[in-house]
Symmetry: C2
Subunit: 315 residues, 2 copies
């Protein structure tokens, strides 16, 4: 099995586009339920009917079958809405109905409204059920030789990791907890995942935009499949001195390789990268002038789809 | 008048999004005509009804009012279709009906199909009437001090220039003629517009992706307004040595300024940049970690909309 770069992008940016493929888009959005909070008449995410159904009759929620909308009615502030969501999620966790809740993280993700205001927080493992936008940071650590040759630090995830075990990753990646800034999240993860000194990261890591896409959860992510997952990844570059070696800081990473661009691209073609990490690599290669229209047939589509406009409010 | 960065983006990426604002999108696409070529049942662009109407009864064209499609029926190869288009355009130029044709360039733009095959060439000034995707190159030339401070070479267009006269521009920018590669187009324009040595450009210019957007032509572009114009700009960075000074190579540029990022941003807020050039500057600032989520409220939306996925086939 060999993956083109466009296939790698399509694997992650899997939700149909309303303009490019209207019938596929409508087939989904006309059967899914919108998630809303009361007083805010717009979608925060799309939910599978089988998921929305579970909220029928639950206190704090209102299911409108005609309009296909699930509304969070419990609470009228971020604090009270978050409490209502937590109560429901804890109860659902007890019932064992949803597989994804079995990987309870004890970590809160933020959901924002159109004025970028915090609407509510939701347990990380539960965010997938609601189809809301989630946020993360991804860092590409690399070296540059005197001749200008770039090599990319590429970790392999521990085979024992529940999700995407044994696959290749970006040097550092993690979800952003509610209230945490992307850069502070990055600094923390760099210490935890790659044993990189805080001072080095603060001095040398460079923000380089975002990679955004609309994933549809597959079996490799664990738990329910088919859940639509719009994601925003803040991307950073970190050119490391040749004598700084990233090392696994926890048991989530097996080993770091320092690979040439060709070695990285070969592993991508083989499908060895965790899907969203392949997108971050592609964005890096585009920004650094390595992937261009001269060597990539689908260049224009790839660059666009690495930066999908999400139809939901974002921070 | 002060422009936010999002307002600058929205000014250029002005066509509604099908998912974010379906009613505005449908209001346009349900009244516009699609341009097609026979045997290829998909849109290559959208045309205003007032423009499509002019093709009624013209040899080589078929206007379907029910489906709202204008089909180029003349020719069954790129060569024969291009000849049919040219014949019509020359005739229309004679009639003086369209303002945009009064700026006839004698330069051909390429229109591609879904297999990235050339479908036909069209005179540059006429491409606007068809609403097809056009391609250009934009280069940001900059200097970096020993302390790492970036300054951007910013030209002011001649006041006498017919379009966007007196406005600020990217160091080098130009349309890509049919058959020309983006990089060769860039090298040529760097000589013509900024007097930069070919060897310097070939050695130091770095590809950095694309900026894509769907413009709707306004009065500053000259000629008919309201024409939808999807555009792909290949973007390049060129870090210039401190002793290399770009100089106007023709009478299209008045003067080059070497401005700090703050000076550039101030001019952007004042709306002094040609609209699509402001987008290229924003993309540069994002990729270089200058514009981030920490200093730009609309960061996520801006980065996405700088890379719009176009619904038409692209090269």
């Amino acid at each position: 099995m060999s993956f083109t770069n466009l296939a790698l992008v399509a694997q992650c940016d899997a939700f149909p586009y309303a303009d490019v493929d209207p019938s596929a888009y409508l087939a989904r959005t006309n059967t899914y339920f919108q998630l809303r909070v009361s007083g805010h008449d717009y979608a925060l995410g799309y939910m599978l009917p089988s998921v929305a159904e579970v909220f029928r009759g639950v206190a704090g929620w209102e299911l409108d079958d005609a309009e296909r909308v699930l509304t969070l009615t419990g609470g009228d502030s971020a604090v009270s809405r978050s409490a209502a969501v937590e109560k429901t999620m804890l109860a659902l966790r007890e019932t064992g109905h949803f597989e994804v809740l079995k990987k309870w993280r004890g970590e809160l993700y933020a959901v924002y409204g159109r004025d970028k205001e915090l609407l509510f927080n939701v347990e990380r493992s539960a965010s997938a059920l609601f189809g809301v936008v989630t946020y993360g940071v991804h860092l590409t650590a690399y070296t540059r030789s005197e001749q200008g040759e770039i090599k990319i630090w590429t970790p392999r995830r521990a085979k024992t990791k529940q999700t995407y075990g044994g696959m290749l990753d970006n040097a550092v990646a993690g979800g952003i907890a509610s209230g945490e800034s992307p850069f502070e999240s990055l600094v923390r993860e760099c210490g935890e995942e790659a044993s990189l000194a805080e001072s080095l990261v603060r001095e040398r890591a460079r923000a380089a935009g975002t990679v955004t896409y609309w994933y549809v959860r597959d079996e490799r992510a664990g738990g329910e499949t088919g859940l639509p997952q719009p994601e925003v990844q803040y991307v950073y570059d970190l050119e490391l001195p040749l004598d700084v070696i990233p090392r696994p800081g926890d048991d989530e990473v097996e080993e770091f390789y320092l690979w040439s661009v060709e070695e990285v691209q070969e592993a991508m073609r083989k499908g060895e990268f965790k899907p969203n990490c392949a997108l971050v690599v592609l964005d890096f290669l585009v920004r650094h002038g390595i992937l261009t229209e001269a060597n990539e047939r689908d260049f224009i589509e790839i660059v666009s789809r690495l930066h999908r406009r999400l139809e939901f409010p974002t921070l």
